[in-house]
Symmetry: C2
């Protein structure tokens, strides 16, 4: 099957990219509006950009049909801060409840029955049950088509001791969930590639 | 465990981000130098940015200690084109052989024993055995610390009929591999989140 993006619909391209660029980490973004209303929403075009000097992540957000940013993006642009909350298998249903498809103008913490705690370096809420959180400040933005790409600088990271072995984060203990497409997610079946040729 | 990135080493931050931002899709990037030398290398900070109008992906690449771009990035900057090759379970060992850690100045197709075919819309090689490929032109770049972030516009997509059901790409048939950290990868254990609350 060959696809020319210039001839395809947005829905066809969405399905293609969300199926081929897999599995994706979930950027579960928490923000606080200037009026003090908390917001929590998952983004699936989320990635690390650089690990240090400075440590930066990106989250791509779609504008609404009227051109305005969605709640999360508006809050980040207004307050220059956001939180990232690790989505592990125990939290996937709660995370899914906070997706855009449900309750656009509600406090998603309440909607999903999630307790919150305040971040330590920025004024944003965090998911109390998340096994790891990253506190970010706005580093830069980029406009691409009708999307606003938000680049955040990581200011502080908290990792639950449950994920730590001998003082280091342990990949065998981090049971993150990957995003696929539609209603599909993926748990991790870890394996190692030995490098006998090295 | 709390981590202040300003006090952490690059290695500590790398381990943290590559363990918490998981699972990551693998951007298996193929390029051709102006001298006609083919290059193939996997990047793990790879993501979709926007699905259409225009369809754009990003790949973050590290500069060498002397400040020069690595081979893939240099080729993209010179030729304004690159390919993306889907990494499925059958190709993970071949992909791993093409990583930076091995054979920096060799033709990685030969090194990994991979046949190539030419892209149709740009002058780059593609992995013949890849079940899907995306042909991209350079859309934009961004400098963040010692990294060059490459934004590519998707010009053409080819998907093997093996991944297609009733004319559409089928998530149940796309057995991509996710990147974790170190020598760790992940196969997908797919599940669906029903949305009874909708």
């Amino acid at each position: 099957m060959e696809i020319d993006p210039r001839q395809a619909t947005v829905d066809e391209m969405y399905r293609l990219l969300t199926t081929l660029i897999t599995p994706r980490p979930i950027g579960w973004v928490s923000t606080r509006s200037v009026d003090g209303v908390d917001n929590l929403a998952p983004y699936s075009f989320y990635m690390g950009v650089i690990e240090a000097n400075p440590p930066v992540v990106m989250v791509s957000t779609e504008r609404r049909p009227d051109g305005s940013p969605k709640d999360s993006a508006r809050n980040v642009l207004d307050t220059e801060a956001f939180g990232l909350n690790l989505v592990t298998t125990d939290l996937v249903e709660a995370m899914d409840r906070t997706s855009d498809a449900v309750g656009a103008h509600k406090d998603e913490f309440d909607l999903a029955g999630l307790d919150r705690r305040d971040a330590t370096t920025v004024d944003v809420p965090l998911v109390a049950a998340a096994k790891a959180t990253m506190e970010c400040t706005l580093y830069d933005t980029m406009e691409v088509g009708d999307h606003i790409v938000i680049f955040g600088r990581i200011e502080h990271v908290i990792v639950d001791d449950e994920l730590v072995t001998d003082g280091k984060i342990d990949v065998e203990k981090v049971d993150t969930v990957g995003r696929l497409t539609g209603s599909y997610y993926a748990k991790l079946e870890r394996f190692q590639v030995d490098r006998p040729w090295q």
